[in-house]
Assembly symmetry: D2
Homo-oligomer: 429 residues x 4
Amino acid sequence: MQREITTINTTAFDQYESNVRSYCRSFPTVFRQAQGSLLYNEQQRAYIDFFAGAGALNYGHNNPQIKQALLDYLESDQIIHGLDMYTSAKRSFLERFNQVILAPRNLPYKVQFCGPTGANAVEAALKLARKVTGRTSVISFMGGYHGLSLGGLAVTGNAEHRAAAGVPLAHTNFLPYPRGPLAAIDSLHYLETVLTDTHSGFDKPAAIILETIQAEGGIYVAPTEWLQGLRHLCDRHGIVLICDDIQVGCGRTGSFFSFEAAGIVPDLVTLSKSISGYGLPMALVLIKAEYDQWQPAEHTGTFRGNQLAFVGATAALDYWQTDAFSSSIQALAQQLESFLQTQIVPLDPRLAIRGKGLVWGIDFAELGPTASKTIMQECFAQGLIIERVGRGDSVLKIMPPLTIDSALLAQGCAILQQAIQTYLASTKE
Amino acid sequence: MQREITTINTTAFDQYESNVRSYCRSFPTVFRQAQGSLLYNEQQRAYIDFFAGAGALNYGHNNPQIKQALLDYLESDQIIHGLDMYTSAKRSFLERFNQVILAPRNLPYKVQFCGPTGANAVEAALKLARKVTGRTSVISFMGGYHGLSLGGLAVTGNAEHRAAAGVPLAHTNFLPYPRGPLAAIDSLHYLETVLTDTHSGFDKPAAIILETIQAEGGIYVAPTEWLQGLRHLCDRHGIVLICDDIQVGCGRTGSFFSFEAAGIVPDLVTLSKSISGYGLPMALVLIKAEYDQWQPAEHTGTFRGNQLAFVGATAALDYWQTDAFSSSIQALAQQLESFLQTQIVPLDPRLAIRGKGLVWGIDFAELGPTASKTIMQECFAQGLIIERVGRGDSVLKIMPPLTIDSALLAQGCAILQQAIQTYLASTKE
Amino acid sequence: MQREITTINTTAFDQYESNVRSYCRSFPTVFRQAQGSLLYNEQQRAYIDFFAGAGALNYGHNNPQIKQALLDYLESDQIIHGLDMYTSAKRSFLERFNQVILAPRNLPYKVQFCGPTGANAVEAALKLARKVTGRTSVISFMGGYHGLSLGGLAVTGNAEHRAAAGVPLAHTNFLPYPRGPLAAIDSLHYLETVLTDTHSGFDKPAAIILETIQAEGGIYVAPTEWLQGLRHLCDRHGIVLICDDIQVGCGRTGSFFSFEAAGIVPDLVTLSKSISGYGLPMALVLIKAEYDQWQPAEHTGTFRGNQLAFVGATAALDYWQTDAFSSSIQALAQQLESFLQTQIVPLDPRLAIRGKGLVWGIDFAELGPTASKTIMQECFAQGLIIERVGRGDSVLKIMPPLTIDSALLAQGCAILQQAIQTYLASTKE
Amino acid sequence: MQREITTINTTAFDQYESNVRSYCRSFPTVFRQAQGSLLYNEQQRAYIDFFAGAGALNYGHNNPQIKQALLDYLESDQIIHGLDMYTSAKRSFLERFNQVILAPRNLPYKVQFCGPTGANAVEAALKLARKVTGRTSVISFMGGYHGLSLGGLAVTGNAEHRAAAGVPLAHTNFLPYPRGPLAAIDSLHYLETVLTDTHSGFDKPAAIILETIQAEGGIYVAPTEWLQGLRHLCDRHGIVLICDDIQVGCGRTGSFFSFEAAGIVPDLVTLSKSISGYGLPMALVLIKAEYDQWQPAEHTGTFRGNQLAFVGATAALDYWQTDAFSSSIQALAQQLESFLQTQIVPLDPRLAIRGKGLVWGIDFAELGPTASKTIMQECFAQGLIIERVGRGDSVLKIMPPLTIDSALLAQGCAILQQAIQTYLASTKE
């Protein structure tokens, strides 16, 4: 095994960049190019990407179909920065998004273009839910991740992130998420009880915000019936249901939205990460028409009109014109799940796997605090990029681009399997 | 005068976009292309741009020097989405930024790449100031604008924006800004008093955040001595001084940073808007090395590695290699100020002008609540895009790209002058 | 049955007193005198007191042993209002409290004399816990009641009281209380999980505040093992355990402190209500010596030296010199419990009883929303004062003075039994 | 000069009482008895009282007229603890208060009996103002003191007290108080500006809370025209005006309410301290009838029916049946002011005096940080009790009982004068 770490040049980063940088510590090389599901460093070494830009690269790196649209747009000096003025690019996106995504699914959403980060979409959604209901409190779930600006951070469970707020985070109650650390508790019953118990101390919330799959939280998948129950509960109590589909939307679970399988319609949906198709900053809030009670300019942001991202987003919607893409994701999902069930689970009884579609986690918590990191590092050494998430970062998250081909997926899986085996062997010595 | 409003097609926006949209209501046409200081609608009508993407387009639309770098980067399939991994594009920016901007000015900053919105940079800066000092409270200034996520909104003065928070905004005390509504008050003395008065109710703040020129607040320019006094005050009291240079940095005042003229060094600086050079989403926090106390990943965000923006930003730094750009800005500034002093001020004694460099305001407050809007609409009808800011939106903000040529600047000014004259004439009938 | 309601004169109250008044609506007569466990209205009608001033009259009304001490003190012009100056009366109390209560129980407490309300003791205890730990968050229990000033209200579960705050109540997480609405949940396990789960969103708390018996919450008695488990949990995590013994301390459960039976020692204890022995305003915080980290005057209040109350409190401590009082309470408790078990429970399968010592509740929730009120009104008509508490006010709380004699207790019980029977009969018609 | 400090016995306090105690450190002796304006320690030494229980003893210690009413009440076993039930004692107070105080002044107030501390009255008033207006923010004044429970503490300026909150104090903006540290600022103009400036960051407040004389803040007297201007401002903006008359009401300024001289009618008034006439815990909120929008029991408290205090309060109202008491206060006030002007002011140009009625301060700030303490200690040694207040505790507050006789007032003044002279002499050596 050849490691090229000694040859990489990180001087500029060491000297000029803030200590806050993090992924570069896990993947210590300097990347230059990328294509599909492969990243290349400055020495042209290829890395298989099981990380997909934390979910921002569902269509792969530099997807050629989208790339051409971007080049054409740039070349022809079309508007790049548009705030929320009317532009041709925005119109194309709106029409296409309605035609390919919303209309076929009977989803009654208006589109808010907010600041181009997931956190900003969450901020906008929470503001709107509070405005519409006149209430301040929100319910979130343990393990939930919704961004690190103050509004999003207040509904994010991670203690380290919360501690960095520098102010107490208020107006949120956290409840157990299904299948997580307090899985034995029927959280819907718990929720119904605290909402109806006049002495529970839970102020009636404006909104319940959730991910249908907690990704950063460690890959916990909410059951269909639970999602349906939550939808009914919100209906009964007049609570705005916000689905944060930033990481697991845009096809990650096989359908465009992650909540489609449950047959529910959230009141607000936040989208970001892969919505632009090309890794460009973009974020949306989808708003049921009756909740679109914004006054003009109540929520703004300089980059809410990132036209290049709109162009990418419009091109990416071509993937959803037919069922082919969805079918292909499901086939890959089956390959991945089968690999995990047959090749990984048998390796050690302490291993747990969880996931759906093309987002899966292998939980190494029971193998001790360093297992996941050691294995991640070995994967990287062998040319596979894979991230750690969840409590104690004990979970390796397998999240390749949805466009990965079957062979490359298998190749990455093989590296992963080998790394786990190496680790397990080393602990038995 | 020919108005083409009847021919524009806004159906898609009316049907699919949220009511929150705003600029499109001021400038009701559909834009398609842009070049330098001109925007073009779908009917190829040209508009002179005195708006510059709210400060995001200091180098003009689709600046050809930068454009080529972007095209080359895209063409060669270099990394687009990099989180905070090491990339060649980020290294180039860091080295170039240090070489052209920081080193020559002896500025001891580390660079934090945060989520690519100004609001996110403000959130990061406030977090860090609180972390470093262990205090929660912050002082901001009346008229200040620092973004609309909860952390930034708490230090933003605008009542309409604040009301949309849906929760009480806490941990901030507001003080009068120089030359603003309470200009008669010596705000430094006020500040010194409340900080030393043990009964003032002002909890000792972590930070003071300010713009050196309040742009959204109505174009108020802080005097040099005031900025120096504020710097000394922060030194005496161990308060982190945050300069939000998002709108008036990147050359807007003639120098790269707006605070250079005052000879002060803020502890933290937020940059965004024009930093990418091309209107692409990007934001930075500059951090004095001793304050770079972030733990890895304490503040993150999916799009904090928008490589295309880094490429644009690096190319844009070419403008700052010599003094030529700065000199050219100053020449244009002189032309603009002279125009205002000689052509506008004499028109009516109720008009007030304020500004510096290439950001100026004409305040129509004393002409009644509808003057600025009527004049803005007339400008638009005549092919000039100009924004209203400040209390009651009474101020027309003149903020063209810094690359505008003298003739076009004059042409825009002429439209503006004509529109004002038309308005004044109409009110005398 | 003769009802004298028509003859009472409430004009002054109707005209001059705020609408906020409440108990007078349940007990619509004008009281003038009282003795032991009897109250007398202006028409000299006697009422048996199963209410005991909401727990402030454990030693009965105008207890003659205490009364003489008060008269002597007043007569001799001793200090009435002393703030926190040294006074003879305070010294007597401190010495006596140590001798009779603290020393025999090996309780290592310092005594803080705070403002003479239970709410103020809670405010002081929460402040101190936050100061000592440097943390802001607190854990409280659903159904908990800790007073209505903002600090206490934040840890009080009652939604109507919370809604009256006028500001969002922050810094508190509520957990299920044993045997309450979410009794099936092992709240200790829940608590341990959220404290150790790094993604639970539960910021590490300064304190856990609880009542060992939730009185206002509907008479829920915490099991001994649960209290012990909670104590261990607080030890493990360095959390300050605050026992709010305002309502069920001072002998209500048979021992002076309610927590004695569990063999635990809270870090802070709040006392008020019956501590003065005579219904006079007084409140204390007991503080483990190592937590007595107050600076002088950090928490003050004009009436924290209500000397007359100290005199009453000192005299009342005579009750605790021997075990006789405790034994007598236990005998009465047995009588009461036996009555409930044999005379009330059999009346209807929908009735639930809960309690300990001389605080018991009969829960009429399953008999519909008006049952408890109708029965309370009938009791009042028949000369028995009894309060409603808990969710929907469905619980009649039996809480006579601890000095009630057996016959009077029986007489009150008979009225209660009759009223319930009358109600049940009426619903069967 | 004989000092008896060595003989006092404070063992019990040292051993058993919390470190939070404070006044005992200024006045280190053990008090036993009191009469009128004299306190007696356990060695029967007399002390002249220029402190008056921090304002709770306006009618002197153990006022004989009131004492007899209390003894009679106690003797006859009338109700002591009544919560908010109807009682004969409460009716007497309500009728008498209306007859003697409210009706003659045309004051349209309803009376709320809240928990018997000033802080609780403030909490209730703030809650009600927020409920009535639906707003959360409040404006208070620098130097203001409104109690130390979280709601009151948030509107209290003292930094040491605020720091002890343990949580950030929110929802309050502080403005300069007339004649205080930022006296040059026209605070009414400032207030009007921030309320009308849409970018001031001052969220529209529910209430403005103030003392007409800041006592704890250092004896600053609000000018009449300022109070009138504030009243008009509140009317214009629909803001609830709360006058906290806890320390300077009940005759301290010559009239029953301190605001009478200005001819204004606050919307809510808080009273406590001297309202019971005898130093017993009692507090009231006076509420303009249209603002009495409380639901029953929305704000409660165990000791809101401290009947003995009601009896004292009713008896104390005899003082207000004629103008004699007011005239006598004014005569004493003239004597005191004359003494200060003629005997104290000439002693040293650095001395400042401020005050009104029988509350005056001598400010020693310019004599250095230890002057006031040294002089206070010397006064105590010579038999005079006088408190320090204000910034740096630099102000000696002269606040004797209103019933003090002229000779004793002169005697106390002579001790004070002598102590100041001694100090001044010592600093010249």
